[in-house]
């Protein structure tokens, strides 16, 4: 439980503050959006500060949920509004509240058309994302999880590239299909258990039902995270999304899949998770190898980073289903780290795109002489992306491989082998963009706003790389709790 000195519903405030900000912008009725930007930025900053306070009061030695806010909501259905954080959700809450202001900064000048609407969409998105990371009720989780699609649909469809409508539909329908199957599983559990609160779930599902329920949840999360072969929506959507949309998509929305695996698949269906683990390993290793190859062949900056995201998420799924403490910790670290790295890389692309209006890699070259600051920042993130020791990328991938080596030698070798390709496409990208002959005189170096947007990410990536202990403490007891629950369930079956 949260410390008693906090009597305010801190978590609910964090979740709904962005929504309030959105309503404020909506009812101010301002068309041009100069104030909307500031209102949105301040709202998201205050949200971030509140979540830091939440972290400060969080007791990492306890495994259970803290800061629980609970109100009956639909009593005839037994649904409650209940939110809380534990070590698994807190890092994502922090990541979300950190990234949203940065996304808004990244969109500061690029979004000139219907600015107020954009800010509203982003703030509503933040509420939904935070809600889905903290919901303790199945149906509430589903509502937030699915609600995320609505602002995202508008962000891509209204401010995206030329093929934006296609991308928006693909994102929406692809994800909706997965979610609907999950809804069926949720309804089944609801019917079986008679309550929809995962906290209260101690029911062991019979071995006949478990695989089906597991698959239904898998459909939703595998599409969200995304795993090969369900990843095809991601590159299309990234290419069309505006910079802020790409950042939040790669930084946060993909993590919702990983979070779902950790929160639902593993503890609720331990036997099915164990049964399907080799299948997940195979898909993950294929994802890592295949998308690394595909990334090598890309000529579009955003597509390349999108494919690299799929590879990195492969490490996450690998780590989660090892059901090993190092693997799980690695998966968590990898998700947080990738959240910052991918957001930063998409921000890099956004910075370049703003100047040249092309994402074609061939159009760039020799930036090092024109944009020294940018190139330095870009290098750090590229190195972090390929997992250089000293950056957060290394910690995550190393722990995942460590965990995997306990379980499957083939998967470890495959994934480790793929690291080489990861280094290859990342370094080659850097070489093509930053080095070589200069292609244009038109490159201004980073301005103050962009530097401010990069700074927290840079700091985070390096800090997590050399001193990951705060994150480890945060997640440790919750993960070990999860692990014992999983093992107990596995033995029980």
């Amino acid at each position: 439980m949260g410390r008693s000195m906090i009597s305010l519903p801190l978590l609910s405030m964090i979740i709904f503050l962005p929504l309030l900000g959105a309503l404020a912008i909506l009812f101010s009725g301002e068309k041009r959006g100069d104030n909307a930007r500031w209102v949105a930025l301040w709202t998201s900053l205050v949200t971030f500060i509140l979540s830091l306070i939440l972290w400060g009061h969080y007791d990492p030695s306890q495994a259970g949920f803290q800061f629980i806010d609970s109100t009956p909501w639909i009593s005839s259905l037994g649904l409650t509004y209940e939110v809380g954080v534990d070590g698994i959700s807190l890092p994502f809450v922090l990541l979300t509240t950190l990234l949203v202001p940065l996304c808004l900064l990244a969109s500061w000048t690029t979004i000139q058309d219907r600015t107020a609407t954009y800010m509203i969409a982003f703030l509503i998105l933040e509420t939904f994302v935070l809600g889905s990371f903290t919901a303790l009720d199945f149906v509430l989780f589903y509502i937030f999880f699915e609600g995320v699609l609505i602002p995202m649909f508008f962000i891509i469809g209204l401010w995206g590239g030329p093929n934006r409508v296609y991308a928006a539909f693909k994102l929406f329908l692809y994800t909706l299909l997965g979610s609907c199957l999950m809804l069926l599983a949720i309804l089944y559990i609801y019917f079986e258990v008679g309550s929809s609160i995962p906290l209260a779930l101690t029911t062991a599902f019979s071995p006949q039902v478990q695989p089906w329920l597991w698959l239904a949840f898998f459909a939703s999360f595998a599409i969200k995270i995304p795993m090969w072969p369900f990843h095809t929506w991601l590159p299309d959507v990234h290419v069309e999304a505006p910079t802020g949309g790409s950042m939040i998509l790669a930084g946060i929305l993909l993590k919702m899949g990983g979070y779902g695996f950790l929160r639902f698949s593993l503890p609720l269906f331990p036997e099915a998770s164990a049964t399907f683990a080799p299948f997940i390993f195979a898909l993950s290793v294929i994802a890592i190898l295949y998308t690394s190859f595909v990334a090598l062949a890309q000529t579009d900056l955003k597509k390349l980073i999108a494919y690299s995201s799929v590879a990195h998420m492969g490490f996450v799924t690998l780590g989660i289903f090892t059901a090993d403490s190092a693997g799980l910790q690695g998966a968590m670290t990898q998700m947080v780290s990738h959240g910052m790295i991918s957001a930063a890389l998409f921000l890099c692309v956004g910075v370049l795109y703003e100047r040249t209006h092309t994402r074609d890699i061939a159009a760039y070259g020799g930036l090092a002489s024109r944009m020294p600051h940018f190139v330095t920042v870009f290098m750090v993130f590229i190195l972090a992306s390929l997992g250089l020791p000293g950056t957060s990328g290394f910690v995550g991938e190393f722990l995942v491989l460590l965990g995997t080596s306990q379980v499957s030698v083939y998967a470890t070798v495959g994934a480790a082998f793929a690291l080489v390709f990861g280094a290859a496409y990342a370094l080659w990208l850097y070489q093509r963009v930053a080095l070589g002959p200069m292609t244009s005189q038109n490159f201004r170096d980073l301005n103050g706003r962009e530097l401010i947007a990069f700074a927290p990410l840079l700091l985070g990536v390096l800090l997590l790389g050399v001193y990951p202990t705060p994150l480890f403490t945060m997640v440790k007891s919750s993960l070990s709790h999860l692990l014992t629950a999983t093992e107990k369930g596995g033995r029980h079956g």
Partner: protein
């Protein structure tokens, strides 16, 4: 004498008041040579309000009472249904006055016919006898057929009305034939007598009973426009003036579903094994056919017709469960669906452009009229069943009951069709927001919005109701629960 008959009349006081107002309007319309049609609309509204008050005053909560020798019935379920009818009829009436006036279609007949149709629907719910139900059905049906032909100068409208009338007559014939078979079986058309005479313990069910039930279900499936009895819906929706479609698509659909629910849960509950598969079939056909056909539509009203068919599929799925949860699901679904349809048609009625009936005419609507477009967009998400909007909870209820009854494969199918359905609901949003009005053909320019303050209030109320339902659904769900307690056969 008065004392003995008074309670009888109290039960149907709302209907009596409505018919009296309608007659007054008819008389007034004939006598006055320079009519101000708007005033007849207001009179009709006043009549509805008066009758609604009568309903509220005369109802005794938790009690079930009959009158006229058990010919009509009143209980919590019927009360619930009647409230829905009143709300829907009044809302559509307010929404329709200005648009009809603009199209010069508003006449005193319109106001009177709306009242006749409403009283017919109220009687349909109250009826406790198949012949009574028939009379009520016809009062409602005939008023609707005439309303459909309101635009006398339009060939399309006349064609639609004729189609509606002929197919409706066939459905009525089905109904009557079914009733006669049931009479042959039970020797009475009274619901209670019928319920007493149906036993499942006989080895073979009497064929007359089964076929009679089948015919009656078909007739109501026609009224609900569930596939394969949906053929008339797209043509009628497309041909009739939008204001009339708004009425036809609203309360009559809900009433058909509720009366069917009442028949199934009360006299015919014992035949559950017989009708449940039938409704599963109707559900599958409606969901699949409605969804697939809606994909390729370019006319908004035709599209709404097919989307209605698909939505009725979910209602049929709820009916097929034959349990209290399913019943509650149907009540929630129908009421929310009607509110959403009021919103959708209300938004469409605000558009004043002759070409406003194709999807393309909505292009750029998002920047043209942000408020209305935003409202319509939210309604589309809601109709698609995307949380956190009200439509999601409606679907949630139905699917919950379906899964509890073990109809998992049908529920999966329903989920898949709802994803496909999301595609076409999103298409409307896409056209409103992602397509600028620069892409428009010249004839679509000048999409203007004309709305009376009454229309604005109705739309705001509609949005308010939907929002309130998402946040505090309990008061409404309590009403649904009370209505469902009427049926005790489970």
């Amino acid at each position: 004498m008065v004392e003995t008959y008074l309670p009888d009349f109290l039960l149907i006081l709302p209907e009596i008041l409505l018919i009296l107002t309608a007659l007054l309007i008819l008389g007034g319309g004939v006598i006055r040579q320079t009519p101000a049609p708007r005033h007849f609309g207001y009179m009709a509204l006043g009549g509805l309000l008066l009758a609604f008050c009568a309903l509220l005053i005369c109802h005794k909560a938790g009690e079930s009472w009959t009158s006229f020798e058990g010919q009509v019935l009143q209980n919590d379920f019927i009360y619930f249904g009647k409230i829905i009818i009143f709300v829907s009829a009044a809302a559509v009436l307010i929404l329709s006055l200005t648009p009809l006036l603009h199209d010069q279609l508003l006449s005193f007949e319109y106001a009177a016919l709306i009242l006749f149709a409403t009283s017919g629907m109220l009687l349909m719910l109250s009826a406790n006898d198949f012949l009574n139900l028939f009379v009520a059905l016809e009062i409602q049906g005939l008023s609707l057929y005439i309303l459909a032909a309101l635009n006398r100068d339009s060939g399309l409208s006349a064609e639609a009305a004729l189609k509606y009338f002929i197919l409706g007559a066939v459905a009525t014939a089905f109904y009557l034939y079914g009733t006669s078979l049931l009479y042959g079986f039970a020797g009475s058309t009274h619901f209670e007598v019928l319920a007493r005479s149906i036993h499942m313990d006989v080895a073979v069910l009497p064929l007359g009973l089964c076929i009679g039930l089948l015919f009656i279900i078909s007739a109501f499936a026609f009224k609900m426009s569930a596939a394969p009895f949906h053929m008339w819906t797209p043509d009628v929706y497309e041909g009739c003036p939008t204001a009339i479609v708004a009425f036809i698509a609203n309360a009559p659909k809900g009433v058909a579903a509720l009366v069917l629910l009442r028949l199934l849960m009360d006299p015919f509950l014992i035949l559950y094994p017989l009708w449940s598969p039938l409704f599963l079939g109707l559900a599958v056909l409606s969901m699949v056919w409605g969804t697939l056909a809606a994909l390729s539509q370019t006319n908004i009203k035709r599209f709404l017709a097919y989307s209605t068919i698909a939505q009725m599929g979910y209602v049929c799925l709820g009916l097929a469960t034959g349990v209290r949860e399913g019943l509650q699901g149907v009540l929630v679904y129908v009421s929310l669906y009607l509110v959403m349809m009021i919103g959708v048609f209300g938004s469409l009625l605000c558009l004043r452009n002759k070409k406003a009936e194709t999807f393309d005419s909505l292009a750029g609507f998002g920047s043209l009229h942000p408020c209305l477009a935003f409202f319509l967009a939210l309604l589309m998400f809601s109709l698609a069943g995307i949380p956190p909007f009200a439509g999601f909870f409606a679907k949630f209820y139905i699917f919950k009951a379906a899964i509890a009854e073990g109809f998992v494969s049908i529920a999966v199918l329903g989920m898949v069709t709802s994803v496909v359905a999301a595609f076409y609901y999103l298409r409307i949003i896409k056209i409103m927001y992602f397509k600028s009005s620069d892409d428009l053909a010249p004839e679509f320019y000048g999409q203007t919005v004309v709305a009376s303050s009454g229309m604005g209030i109705v739309l705001i109320l509609c949005a308010g109701v939907l929002l309130f339902f998402c946040l505090f659904p309990d008061p409404f769900l309590l009403m649904v629960q009370r209505a469902s307690l009427v049926f005790t056969g489970f």
